[in-house]
Amino acid sequence: MKKKFKLIDLDCANCAAKMEEAIKKLDGVNDASVSFLTQKMMIDAEDAVFDQVVQEAVKCIAKVEPDCKVVLK
């Protein structure tokens, strides 16, 4: 499954690159991208673990940039 999330207050491009790298390393993730310019995160992960992966990804983001929020809908 592939899904896009909006990010709020993603302030630094280097951080976006770090987040992307960290999310890509999560178990069950096929592909991921964090775009500083569009302020969006795309996660492509296995259906069975998708929700779990998203939670992990949110943690990764908080680790790199504490002020950055993910809009989960």
Binding site: K4, D11, A17
Partner: protein
Amino acid sequence: MSGLTKRQKKDLTRIIIAFVLFVLLIVLEHTHVIPESFAHSYWMIIPWLVPYFIVGQDVIRKCFLGISHGQMFDESFLMTLATVGAFGCGELHEAVAVMLFYQVGEFFQGYAVGKSRGAISELMSIAPDFANREEEDGSIEVIDPDDIEVGDILVIKPGEKIPTDGVVIEGEGLINTSALTGESMPRSVRTGDDVISGCINGDTLLRVEARKEYDDSTVAQILEMVENAASKKSRTENLITRFARYYTPAVVIGAVLLAFIPPLISGHFAAEFGTWVLRACTFLVISCPCALVISVPLAFFGGIGAASREGVLVKGSNYLEMMSKLDTIVTDKTGTLTEGKFKVSMIDAANGYSTEDIIRYAAAVEAGSTHPIGAAIVQACDKPYPASKVKDEQNFAGKGISAKVGRDLICVGNRGFFEENGIEIQEDIVEAAGTYCYVARNGKYIGTIIVADMPKAEAKKAIADLFAENVRRIVMLTGDSEKVAAQVASELGISDYKAGLLPLDKVKAVEDLLAEISGDEGSSNDRKLAFIGDGINDAPVLSRADVGIAMGSLGSDAAIEAADIVIMDDKLSRIPAVIRIARKTMSISRANIVFALFVKFACLILGAIGIANMWAAVFADVGVAVICILNSMRMLSK
């Protein structure tokens, strides 16, 4: 500065307050209002800490959060370390100034990026916000485009966006396709015509039957594609990301070495340590690669945005990069270089008849014909005979057609048809490519009409422009006959062509050319090959080429799927335009890389030997970032 977010306003206020305090403290010191004994004591750090915390609180907070999360070496950490180091060495002005100007730079950076993000989303403002659905009782309900179902009747009022692809069932008017195609001339539509989502309705009301759900509509596909474009990174962008990964740790290690090694070697550790720590702090300030990490992708993003304004969709930064290195263009003929429709290209009249006589007679006979050649002849006739004058039409399939026009028997047909009927053909036209239609009146030859698939009006100029953009070679591939190919090629100024190809032969031809390019100069892959086709039956070739360009694709899902670059209308002139955009993107990102690296390394060296101070370092960090972003923003302006 209008359009600031709440957060930006708050940041700006903090910067201004801190700046005022900063200036105030300097003035107080210089005018000796603060007693000198106090100004030279350690206690002086307390007044300086006030503006420092006002302006730098979030950086310090982030620094500690980062440490607690095990994320060292981020910008906040480095800035905090550098300023604390400066405080420790007694350089109070510098410490506050560095934090202050770092925040000023960050502010501008955020502002500039926000601006360009706005400009891009404006480019992308083709998505419909709502749809008016007509209910069975005739009332109109405003619904979300996502809720449209195939078969719904949608009412589009003047000035509204067409929410999904469909067909007009009532109404007639002009629709503006410029957001999708870059074409400023509005297109006229009437009952039965297809309309594409994202176009803006003109002055009349249209009733449209939805043919696709919103998610499958042209607009949704385009938006999806442009958003994904950012994830197909160019080589330049990947290079920067990799560079950034090593650059920061390397500079930080350099800073640590710089702080300890020189004073240890000199033997006056206690006396010199402070100086070297200060220089090390200068290093830390320069160590963020943000100037490059932001500005290079921004340039590509802007390039893709600029192309989409021209009605060209580029599916990834990597394709933009390849377009700037185009060496060979391989192009399809029919529908790409030519109209893809038959037109009368030449009329030759004999035996005292005028060309107008010939076309009028032929058109009268062909009036009921459904054959594309017949239709072309009918279209070329300005003053047709009234239909009442034409009777006794007889169709000889594959050969010709005859009818009585007034009292005269007119025959139009091919050579075989004329020979069968014993009509002698006197030809004056020597070598013209196309289909020859002979015309006879009462059994006597009176002229020839040549019908051909004509090159597009702007094709010749577009080809010349491509050569002017340093494309080394243009090769035309066609399934047509040698004679037709030769004529079209020479008319357009193309010297290379291959005729009589089957679809598979085209793939082979492209593969041969690819091998030739890469074989010419060893393994250098700085020369790219693009294939231009209409996207209908050349999907294998499109995907085989480095860059597959599909033309005239508005509404054609297959072409949008297969191609790397999609030209929404059928204008060849978009291709040289895209090459120019690609070149500009590349030169801007290259300029940014060279400029940022030059300033950073110069500052590192000068900082190490003590010539560049912290002020220079702050410029090398945020100043350079802001300049690079402004440079990249040029891609967004026309």
